[in-house]
C-alpha cells in the first residue's frame, strides 16, 4: 500500500515503505565523478575554488556549477576541472616553503638604504 502523505507531490509518486533489509540502491560510480569549480564574482577579479559538483561530463558539470554556485550573489564566470586531472602538492611539502617568508633578499623590505644616504649627506655638509 502506498504511503499516504500530506504532500501532494509524494502522493503522486505512490511510494512504498522501504523494506526491512534494503539492499544498496546505488552502485559505485552511480553519482559520477567530481569536478572542481572555480568562481569569478566580477570581471577583473580572480577565479577562486568554491567546491565541487558531481557530473557525468564537463558540460554537465558546468550546468551543475551554475546552479550550485551561481544561484545567489554575483557571478561573472565559472571554470570546471575534472578532479582526477588535478595534481595536488603533498601537504608534507609545506615544510619546504616554511623559510620562504624570511628570505629577505626576495623582498623589497630587504633593501633599506635610507640610513646610508643620510650618513652620506651628513658627511658632505661641512
Amino acid at each position: 500500500m502506498p504511503i499516504l502523505s500530506l504532500d501532494p507531490r509524494v502522493n503522486r509518486l505512490q511510494v512504498e515503505q522501504v523494506p526491512e533489509h534494503q539492499p544498496p540502491v546505488l552502485v559505485p560510480g552511480d553519482h559520477w565523478p567530481s569536478y572542481q569549480v572555480f568562481h569569478q564574482r566580477r570581471r577583473g577579479e580572480k577565479h577562486s575554488s568554491v567546491g565541487i559538483v558531481h557530473a557525468p561530463s564537463l558540460e554537465m558539470a558546468m550546468a551543475m556549477a551554475k546552479e550550485q554556485f551561481g544561484r545567489r550573489g554575483e557571478t561573472s564566470n565559472l571554470w570546471v576541472v575534472c578532479t582526477a586531472d588535478v595534481l595536488e602538492m603533498d601537504y608534507a611539502d609545506e615544510e619546504v616553503f616554511r623559510t620562504t617568508p624570511s628570505k629577505s633578499y626576495r623582498d623589497p623590505a630587504g633593501y633599506k638604504v635610507n640610513e646610508k644616504i643620510d650618513a652620506y649627506k651628513a658627511k658632505q655638509t661641512p
Binding site: Q22, G51, R71, T83
Partner: protein
C-alpha cells in the same frame, strides 16, 4: 538546517594510544595552534570516523529537511512566498551537496552515504521526522528550526576540519536568509487574523518538543566528548547550544504574545540560565531509531528518488569516467 550537536553513540573510541604518538602530537599541536586539518593530512582513525559520521548525518539532515517544507510549495500563499520557499528548499539540497562533498574528502563515497541513509544505518536530525501539517508549520520550521541549526552550524564552522568549515561558512550565509524569510512568515501569521494566530500557536505547540530535542540530551562529559572537543570536532556541548538558542529566541516568541507549552520555561536571572521541563527523551530515542510519525515516508521518498533517477544517471554515465576523491 541541521539536526544539532547530537551524534548518536556508535563509534567506539579506538584508543588514541594505538596511533603513532609522534604523529598524534603533531596533529594535536596543529589544532591547538588553530590551524585547520586538510583532507590528505595524517589524522587519527577515530577523528576521521567521527567526522565522516557527523558530516554525513548533517548532509542527510539537509536533504531530508527539504521534504517537510517541500510539502507546502504547491500551496504556498502567494507567489513571493512560493519563490522564497522554493529558493530555501533548493538551498537545503545544495547544503546536502556541499556536505556530502566534505565527507567524501575523508574517503566515504557519496553512493555509500546515500545507501546508508536509505537502509537506516545512518541517522539524520529527528525534527524532520515530523509532519508540516499547516502553512504555519513552515513558519515554525523556517524560523525556529533554522535558527537552532544556525547556532549549531556557526559553532561547527570554527572546528578543525578545513573542508567542513568552508562548507559551513557558505551554508551559514544562506541560512541567514532562511531564518529571515521564516521569521517574516512567522510575524505575518502572528500579527494576522485570529485564525492565523491560532494556526501559528498550534504549530508552535506541536513543534516545541522536537525543538527541545534538537540539540540532543544533556551531555555527560565523557572521555569521548572531551577528546572530540580537544580535537575541535565537537565545538560546544548540547546544553550550551540549547541555552544559546533559548536565550535569543524565546523572547522573540513571547514578544508576539504567543506562548510555549512549558509552564516551567523561564530565565533564572541570577544564573542567566533558562529553566525548562525536560522533554521526553524516550520519544527522542524512539524517533531516532526510525519510529517517528514521518520516518518511513522520508526514507521511502529518498529511495524512490534514487531508484527512479537511476536510468537517467546511467544513460549519462561514461565508460571512461575517472573517480578521484574531491580535493576540498
Amino acid at each position: 538546517m541541521y539536526g544539532g550537536g547530537y551524534i548518536p553513540a556508535g563509534v567506539e573510541e579506538t584508543k588514541a594510544q594505538a596511533e603513532s604518538p609522534e604523529l598524534l602530537a603533531q596533529f594535536e599541536a596543529r589544532i591547538t595552534r588553530g590551524e585547520k586539518i586538510e583532507p590528505r593530512d595524517w589524522m587519527p582513525a577515530v577523528y576521521r570516523k567521527q567526522l565522516i559520521r557527523m558530516i554525513e548525518q548533517h548532509a542527510h539532515s539537509e536533504i531530508i529537511g527539504a521534504l517537510p517544507e517541500g510539502t507546502w510549495i504547491t500551496r504556498a500563499p502567494g507567489f513571493r512566498r512560493k519563490l522564497a520557499l522554493m529558493a530555501k528548499v533548493q538551498d537545503e539540497v545544495g547544503h546536502a551537496q556541499l556536505l556530502y562533498s566534505a565527507a567524501e574528502t575523508l574517503g566515504k563515497k557519496r553512493e555509500d552515504m546515500l545507501n546508508d541513509l536509505i537502509n537506516g544505518k545512518s541517522k539524520y536530525s529527528n525534527v524532520f521526522n515530523y509532519p508540516a501539517e499547516t502553512w504555519a508549520d513552515v513558519a515554525v520550521i523556517g524560523f525556529l528550526i533554522d535558527a537552532a541549526a544556525i547556532v549549531n552550524q556557526v559553532a561547527n564552522s570554527k572546528g578543525s576540519y578545513g573542508p567542513y568549515c568552508r562548507a559551513l561558512e557558505r551554508i551559514c550565509y544562506e541560512e541567514s536568509f532562511h531564518l529571515k524569510q521564516g521569521h517574516s512568515v512567522f510575524v505575518w501569521l502572528a500579527t494576522g487574523t485570529p485564525m492565523q494566530r491560532e494556526m501559528l500557536q498550534n504549530a508552535l505547540n506541536r513543534w516545541w518538543e522536537p525543538i527541545m530535542h534538537f540539540f540532543g540530551p544533556s551531555d555527560t562529559m565523557s572521555q569521548h566528548t572531551e577528546t572530540l572537543m580537544r580535537w575541535k570536532v565537537k565545538m560546544a556541548t548540547n546544553d550550551v547550544m540549547r541555552q544559546q538558542f533559548l536565550n535569543i529566541y524565546v523572547p522573540k516568541i513571547w514578544d508576539l504574545g504567543l506562548s510555549l507549552p512549558d509552564p516551567e520555561l523561564r530565565k533564572d536571572e541570577s544564573t542567566g540560565q533558562w529553566l525548562f521541563t525536560e522533554p521526553n527523551w524516550d520519544t527522542f530515542f524512539k524517533v531516532i531509531n526510525g519510529d517517528g510519525p514521518c520516518s518511513r515516508e522520508r526514507l521511502a521518498v529518498r529511495k524512490v528518488a534514487e531508484e527512479r533517477g537511476a536510468w537517467v544517471r546511467a544513460a549519462l554515465r561514461r565508460a571512461d569516467a575517472r573517480y578521484a576523491t574531491p580535493l576540498a
